[in-house]
């Protein structure tokens, strides 16, 4: 809950206060800010632990194309997840990615495709549209069942976490560092744990281009 942040390349990690309550499972609230102190939405937050994890969730994910934008902007999926890219726009999109974690391209189509891509390798996948330069989405593939994405207020909440030690990883499409920022935290049997984490972010054009949808010189 420290208000001031140092604007440096090094990531300052601020430790909040901890309350320890004798419960079985606790809640973890991670608050992510940028190096200007502003709340940071669309940050991927995932927890690495030595404890035996429950099974990976087997939810399907989709990143749709609508109004010439990908939605959602950031998606966090577990390794091995299926992600579909339905085109709900009525005009063609040519979805592709050259990211090492997953290189793929979907054929240029105006149809709503239901083909699913499986994302096995952990890492970040940057997805673009070849026809519309500004369309971009990010998929974080993580190797843990404990993952979330910060909301508009820059918060990610993990409820009913088994008590234990966790390494919090925070990543954002615009983060300056190559690796995720980490912090260790211990979750008790019960009670809330709050963690503040800050990321240095690059200029926006690096990770979220301006849409050019209207009459502009292109």
């Amino acid at each position: 809950m420290l208000k001031t942040m140092r604007r440096t390349k090094w990531i300052p990690i601020l430790i909040g206060f901890m309350t320890s309550l004798p419960l079985q499972a606790g809640d973890l609230v991670v608050q992510v800010v940028d190096d200007g102190g502003q709340v940071l939405p669309d940050a991927a937050v995932y927890l690495v632990t030595d404890q035996a994890a429950e099974g990976m969730p087997s939810t399907s994910y989709e990143v749709e194309q609508k109004d010439k934008m990908f939605s959602p902007f950031v998606t966090v999926v577990p390794a091995g997840a299926n992600v579909s890219f339905p085109n709900r726009d009525g005009i063609g999109h040519h979805v592709y990615s050259f990211s090492p974690a997953k290189s793929f391209q979907l054929p240029l189509s105006e149809q709503e495709l239901t083909e699913q891509i499986v994302f096995e390798s952990p890492g970040i996948v940057t997805v673009g549209c070849n026809i519309h330069d500004w369309m971009v989405a990010y998929i974080y593939v993580v190797d843990t069942p404990y993952f979330a994405k910060t909301d508009a207020g820059g918060q990610a909440v993990f409820s009913d976490l088994p008590a234990g030690d966790y390494e919090i990883h925070v990543a954002h499409p615009g983060m300056k560092s190559v690796q995720a920022v980490t912090a260790m935290v211990a979750v008790g049997e019960s009670g809330n744990v709050n963690q503040n984490m800050a990321l240095s972010i690059k200029p926006r054009y690096f990770w979220q281009p301006e849409p050019r949808m209207h009459e502009e010189v292109y």
Binding site: T126, G128, D133, W134, V136, P203, Y205, F206, Q208
Partner: protein, 550 residues
Amino acid sequence: MLLVQLVSLYLVDAANTRNANALIGESLVTTVRSFHNSINSRNDALTLAGSTLSGDYAFKIAYATSGPETVESALTNQRLRIGADLMFLLDLSGNYQIVSGIAPGPGMQAGDPFPFADFMQALENNGEVSGIIHLNSRLYSVIGIPLLSPVPVAWVILGFEVNEAFIGQLLDESGTAITVAYDVDENYSIQVSSLVEELRFQVEEAINASGLVTDSNYEMQVGDAPYLTYISSLAAWGGEQVYAILQRDRNQALAPYFRLRVLLIVISLLALLVSLFGGAVIANTVTRPVKVLVNSAREIERGDYHHVVNLQQEDELGLLGQAFNNMSKGLYERDRVQNLLGKVISPEIAQELISSDVQLGGEEKEITILFTDLRNFTGLSENRSPSDMLDILNEYLTRMTAVIDRHGGVVDKYIGDAIMALFGAPVNLPDHPSRAVACALEMLDELVLCNASFKTRGWPELDMGIGVHSGKVVVGNMGSSDRLNYTAIGDGVNLASRLESATKDCGVPIIVSEATRNMAPDFEYQELQAIQVRGRQQAVRMFTPSVKKA
């Protein structure tokens, strides 16, 4: 005149030179602007072309999936499409990945950092950058843009070498030389120039010796010629300054103005000649004639009426000259007439006539009248020629008139060999009786001298009688208005004449009246027999004067 012309020539020349210098200066500034515009528009073209490259899907695939040789060939393909001299791919950390267009020198291998940290910083902050970099001893005008896939995955640097071809495009104006120089720690080197090598070397020397001034017109001595110079900084990275030096040989640029100046001088000289000529003409046709007229006026002042003004010109001055001559003649005539008048009627009467308003009529005045007559004149003329007689008469009259003059008398008229003289008119003389008596006596003396002279010449001796009377008479202009005579009339005149006539019979030379005797008591008188005069009741007493009383 000459001074005015010289001053105006100087002022016009100064303004002309100032204007010329200002115009050259302006033209340099304009060329600098077009140089900057040219670089900017090239950079814009590069950015446009580069953006198309970075949107090229095939290239993205190549970059993502292929080996460095493939990527390099794809990059070169793009570079050749654009026509750029160099094209690099740098990773997001700013290290070389692919080099196309120039031979990779030392420090340009894959993984080596791109050595322009300020350039990279600007590129990362803004997403694009442009400027000049000094690489491998060459200057390149480059831009930097991201390779998007779909977000920046690498940096693309592309651009043109700053060489003769680059600057050659800008030499649109005749005579403007463009030089591009850079400096590292105040040591200036010329990279490329449109000047010949020797001048280039001199410029380099000049700026290393005395530094350079940017953004203003000034003169740089290049060899032996003054060059008007304007230097502008070009955006450059890597801690170097790069300059565009625009110059014009001032003398060459001013050549048309020098020609204009020569023309001005020629025109001024012509104008000067014309004005000198004009002055001479005026002197001849105006000044000299005026001088001649002034001289003539002075001559006339001095009384020389025969001075003729000879102006042989047909203009107003010529007319003036003629009028002058006419006036001179007129004055001469008038003078002559006046002289003549004086000769005819004695100068005093002439003066009286001239000075007063000549009218008929007179005034009553008491004067003394003196009459003389030659007793035997007619008889003498029998044996002589008329011209001889005239000579004799003239001499006699001249002598007697002189005597009358000496005594203040005025000859009224000559009646043959008789003289009528007035004393006391027109000029007032209070002692007119005494004067008349003295005059009469001296006339006798003069007669003696005259006769003596005549004798030596074989001329006859003369005998005269004199009558003198003083009284009130009327003196004035008598006759007709066109032909008048200043004279005296009245009884007194007649009496004087009668007295003269009586001198022969009485045997005395001079007879004076009682009135005269009474009014001139300073002489001895001898009374004579009184006579009867017609018109008078009483007998008139007569006296003859002799010597003046002591």
